[in-house]
């Protein structure tokens, strides 16, 4: 039965891609940070934080972006909004007012325009809110900056936003210190949603929260998505959370995207050895003994001095000679399933096991 539904959802994705272009399309995005040395700040190398990443996000869906710390997932999220300027690459966004635009080339005024529709929420609810601003100032800031509302209108809109995220509008005059982590995350969400955007980059929105509060915020994100037709890029490292909320998932390793597929397919039949190791490492709330884990040996490669060929080859269990010299390409091996591995077609990898 599951087999059937799964093919259906796969067909849907396929259909969607043919009928309408994705809301967001990233083409060979790169972000290199220079390493400077000495008095004259001589550039001696580059940290390749994001290195030739391409993917798309369809309207109304949630794309999960996972990977280890330092793999470039946050940098990717920030480059999409041009919060930091990418070194090269294209970020095509379907803006309701301006049409299809390449965000990475926009100048200040247009950028303000496009950021009405693409916004961001952050990981740390303590660091991302200014402690000297009231909720009215915080949530109202984007409205004022974008000239969307004035005077009393701002107040009305802020009240509406607070109600939407489950906070009482009477709290408008209070400061962030009066709120708990979960409530602060709601404030951040209200600020992001104030200009009525289409697309949200959620950068680890629940990883700083307690289990019971995490569930509340995840539910809120899903409710708002249905209500407002939002599209999410959900950056996180907790794979159970990502599986729960995403339609599709993309996996990054040392600045490269190694695999992208529907959640179901990626978790049950991964095609990249790194994804397989990730799946095996997920701590599962089930004390029944499991099969032996795949434990990766060695350390994550250094993005300033990555290994030759496939970046994953020094830790890969299935390494062959070609992996050490030639970099594999990011290819679509079945409809909607992209993978960057020389041996993707021949390997038979296992996904999350012990399924009930």
């Amino acid at each position: 039965m599951t087999e059937q539904i799964y093919t259906q959802s796969e067909l849907q994705t396929q259909e969607q891609r043919q009928t309408q272009p994705p809301l967001l399309e990233i083409k060979s995005l790169k972000k290199y940070f220079p390493i400077q040395k000495g008095f004259f700040k001589r550039v001696v190398g580059h940290v390749k934080a994001v290195d030739d990443v391409s993917f798309y996000v369809n309207e109304g869906e949630t794309l999960g972006l996972v990977g280890e710390s330092g793999c470039g997932k946050t940098t990717t999220g920030r480059c999409i909004l041009k919060a930091i300027t990418p070194s090269s690459g294209e970020v095509w966004f379907d803006d309701p007012a301006m049409g299809r635009v390449n965000v990475s080339t926009l100048e200040h005024e247009q950028l303000v325009q496009v950021r009405r529709n693409m916004r961001m929420i952050f990981q740390d609810p303590y660091a991302s809110l200014n402690p000297r601003m009231t909720l009215l100032d915080i949530v109202g800031a984007p409205l004022r900056a974008m000239n969307l509302a004035h005077g009393k209108e701002v107040e009305d809109r802020v009240a509406e936003m607070l109600r939407l995220v489950g906070l009482r509008p009477e709290y408008m005059r209070r400061y962030p210190h009066a709120f708990s982590g979960g409530q602060r995350q709601r404030i951040g969400l209200a600020r992001a949603l104030a200009p009525n955007p289409k697309f949200l980059v959620c950068d680890e929105p629940v990883s700083a929260l307690d289990v019971s509060v995490q569930a509340q915020i995840l539910n809120l994100l899903q409710e708002l998505q249905e209500q407002m037709g939002l599209t999410y890029l959900f950056v996180a490292h907790d794979l159970s959370v990502v599986a729960h909320i995403s339609e599709r998932v993309a996996v990054m390793y040392v600045g490269k995207m190694v695999e992208m597929a529907t959640t179901h397919e990626l978790f049950l039949s991964p095609k990249h050895p790194y994804t397989e190791a990730l799946m095996s490492a997920i701590p599962r709330p089930d004390p029944t003994p499991r099969e032996k884990r795949i434990l990766l040996t060695g350390e994550v490669a250094n993005p300033a001095n990555p290994p030759s060929g496939c970046y994953f080859h020094p830790r890969c269990r299935y390494v062959k000679d070609i992996c050490k010299t030639e970099e594999p390409t990011f290819e679509e091996i079945s409809p909607g399933h992209f993978v960057k591995c020389h041996r993707a077609a021949e390997l038979n990898l296992s996904g999350v096991r012990n399924l009930a």
């Binding site: 599951t2 539904i5 799964y6 959802s9 280890e68 710390s69 708990s180 979960g182 409530q183 307690d210 289990v211 019971s212 509060v213 995490q214 569930a215 509340q216 995840l218 539910n219 899903q222 409710e223 490292h237 794979l239 159970s240 959370v241 599986a243 729960h244 909320i245 339609e247 529907t262 959640t263 179901h264 978790f267 049950l268 190791a277 990730l278 095996s280 490492a281 997920i282 701590p283 599962r284 709330p285 089930d286 004390p287 884990r293 434990l295 990766l296 350390e299 994550v300 999350v352 012990n354 399924l355 009930a356």
Partner: protein, 363 residues
């Protein structure tokens, strides 16, 4: 339970923080038993008192916190000679934090691994120097011998090139390697009890899996007990033999790992287990979306003293007139499965206590 199967027992421990805003009852009557060679998991949300319980055990409660009441008995016997059991009981709560006797236990027989490996090490001294310090402090060995031991312990936590790592500084190591070095430091004196306070929370999943495997292997090798503190139920499922669930300074449920996951009794435990996304469930739904079950409200602020059961404002099975008035006592529902909830107390025990708890509520 006879004493020779106990390594440490905590009885009615109360650790309070007296602050200008009021008294925070971080640990409010906790009973726990740690058995040699076994892993006791402690789960709970932030602020439930799990870390303070561990710090009380080490006599490391930060000021202005104070152990107000209760007993912590530590059985100092070498657990390899099972014949001599009760010979050497130390009552940790009676020792001064900076006394010679306490310092001989701390870091030697009971040691601790913290969440943030960078904060647990001094950035200006080499990894080896810091491990050697612990060894020379507790054992009569020469410097050269201490260095050999440091290298040995570093290789036992599976750090490659231990003889090179011994001379590196903490910042030169990655997060996972640093946590291995911290574990090596904690194990350098062959402790009987290792307290691990969220040791993998700052690490990535693949590194986390490595560290968890390492800790399980080392537990066998060193035959030590582990007190494992975390908020992650997935990690607990893999590590613990027994689990205590804490909420607002109290243990609300304690049982073996299988009963906790398959037969949770306390409404808080049940709600916690339901509020985490389950992979099996996600996969079985095949793309269909679902909402998670949540616990309504949030953890009350730490200064508040709630009458009755502290979970009652959030509890789905709340009983008016009982849960909000009478503090529930511990009930042993099944052998070794205890719970603190009125759903399992006899109705008779609920009423007479009401009079004196009502007095408490006026505070």
């Amino acid at each position: 339970m006879s004493a020779d199967h106990v390594l440490a027992e905590i009885k009615n421990l109360r650790t309070y923080f007296h602050l200008a805003e009021g008294v925070v009852r971080a640990v409010d009557g906790v009973d726990l038993t740690i058995k040699p060679g076994r892993t006791l998991g402690i789960v709970g949300e932030s602020g439930c008192g799990k870390s303070i319980t561990a710090l009380s055990l080490m006599q490391l409660v930060p000021s202005p916190g104070k152990i107000e009441a209760g007993q912590i008995n530590y059985y100092r016997t070498v657990h390899k000679t099972e014949s001599s059991a009760t010979a050497d009981v130390v009552e940790i709560t009676k020792l001064k934090p900076d006394s010679r006797e306490m310092r001989a236990i701390r870091g030697n027989q009971i040691s601790m691994v913290f969440q943030e490996p960078m904060a647990a090490m001094l950035p200006v001294r080499t990894v080896g120097a810091q491990i050697m310090e612990a060894i020379t402090l507790h054992q009569q060995v020469s410097k050269a011998e201490a260095r050999d031991r440091a290298i040995d312990i570093l290789s036992r936590v599976k750090l490659p090139n231990a003889d090179r790592i011994v001379d590196t500084y903490p910042f030169q190591l990655s997060g996972g390697m640093r946590q291995r070095a911290v574990i090596a430091m904690a194990l350098s004196c062959n402790p009987n009890l290792l307290i691990a306070d969220e040791p993998t929370t700052a690490l990535d999943v693949t590194t986390e899996a490595q560290i968890l495997q390492l800790m399980r292997d080392l537990q066998q090798e060193f035959d030590m007990a582990i007190m494992y503190i975390t908020h992650n139920l997935g990690v607990i499922a893999e590590m613990a033999d027994e689990v205590a669930v804490m909420y607002m300074g109290k243990v609300v449920e304690q049982t073996d790992i299988r009963s906790l996951f398959f037969k949770p009794l306390h409404p808080y435990t049940q709600a916690l287990l339901r509020s985490i996304p389950q992979l099996d469930d996600v996969m079985a739904r095949a793309g269909q979306k679902k909402r998670l079950e949540t616990i309504k409200g949030m953890v009350p602020d730490p200064y508040s003293i709630l009458p009755g059961c502290s979970f009652h404002p959030r509890c789905p099975q709340y009983m008016e007139g009982v849960c909000n008035q009478v503090t529930p006592e511990v009930v042993e529902v099944e052998p070794d499965h205890i719970v603190r909830c009125h759903l399992y107390t006899a109705p008779a025990t609920r009423a007479p206590a009401a009079a004196h708890t009502a007095k408490d509520t006026t505070l």
